[in-house]
């Protein structure tokens, strides 16, 4: 999980190990609603979703964003993250399997820190992008 990763250990183009969340359930959505405080009924009330023209409830974008965040923090460590940005594309539905992945795009120094930038995305089982984004992290230096 959180292996301390040093700046020198990372290469541009390196891929972040994917994080897989299988078979997202309605209970998962309810649990996130409660934890986050986002009680938009479109995410838990099936009848409301139907009236709104949706085939069913669908996932909070920020839940998928959190999966993407975990993909990044598993790689850089939670205290190393400096910036995380996500863009929401395709919706996530109950039953979906979401794979979050990413790669390092740049290594550099700024503000006295050794930093990396990277790209991330979360895709569903059909390969459709649910969330895409980018991150910046500051890594410790060896020696």
């Amino acid at each position: 999980m959180s292996v301390r990763r040093y700046f020198q250990d990372v290469t541009e183009g390196e891929e972040l190990p994917p994080v897989v969340v299988e078979n997202l359930s309605r209970t998962d959505l309810v649990r996130y609603a409660g934890a986050s405080g986002d009680f938009n009924p479109i995410h838990h009330d099936e009848e409301f979703a139907h009236v709104a023209g949706q085939p069913s409830v669908f996932g909070h974008g920020m839940l998928t964003a959190a999966f993407v965040g975990r993909c990044v923090t598993d790689f850089v460590g939670p205290d190393s993250l400096r910036r995380l940005k996500v863009r929401f594309a395709t919706r996530v539905w109950p039953g979906d399997t979401i794979v979050s992945m990413g790669k390092v795009t740049r290594k550099y120094e700024a503000d006295g820190e050794r930093r990396i930038d990277g790209e991330v995305q979360a895709v569903n089982q059909k390969g459709e992008v649910a969330v895409s984004g980018s991150f910046t992290a500051a890594l410790p230096s060896r020696g």
Binding site: M1, S2, V21, D28, R31, Y32, G34, A35, S36, G37, D38, A52, G53, Q54, P55, F58, G61, M62, L63, A65, A66, F67, G69, R70, V72, T73, D74, G77, P78, D79, L81, R82, R83, L84, K85, V86, R87, F88, A89, T90, R91, V129
Partner: protein, 164 residues
């Protein structure tokens, strides 16, 4: 419409001077609210996002990166954000979300959060109609007076009903 077809290029970087649309909006910071970071809430949130990282548990626990979304629990009737903007929530999409982290956030922290509308502009949708982009920013300052994080949301109001 599909969000992927109509998403902005780089709305976060749009400058106010390039903004079209709503004649004027209030860019000033709203009244701050206080948000106490609680251990049980951090545990609940980490579980909800299916993240078993030990950094989010025990003494010296950190809050997960997207934990700041729980500010929703501390807001009554919206904060600072979208004053004077008449938005139709039935047509509103959350297009983008950005967090900038300057200090670690841990249980026991007392954060002061204040929000503002950073930018408002219109764009033409690919299938016709105008889309209204609203960028809000929330600043979180900890009990030591240090800015700990910024949260920036891009909200998109579509002309018609939002479809999957």
């Amino acid at each position: 419409m599909s969000a992927s077809e109509t998403r902005p290029q780089k709305p976060g970087e749009a400058s106010p001077s390039s903004a079209r649309g709503p004649e004027s909006f209030d860019k000033s910071w709203g009244e701050p609210i206080t948000m106490r970071v609680e251990y049980g809430k951090v545990r609940e949130f980490a579980r909800a996002i299916k993240d078993a990282n030990p950094a989010y548990a025990g003494d010296g626990a950190l809050a997960p990166p997207t934990f700041l979304m729980t500010i929703a629990h501390w807001i009554e009737g919206g904060m600072g954000g979208m004053r004077n903007l008449k938005l139709d929530y039935r047509r509103l999409l959350h297009g983008e979300q950005e967090f900038e982290y300057l200090r670690p956030i841990r249980p026991g922290d007392v954060l002061t959060a204040r929000g503002r509308t950073k930018d408002v502009f219109e764009k033409d949708g690919k299938r016709g109609g105008k889309m209204l982009f609203v960028i809000t920013e929330t600043e979180f300052t900890n009990q030591r007076g240090e800015v700990a994080a910024y949260s920036r949301s891009t909200l998109i109001q579509t002309e018609g009903a939002v479809q999957a």
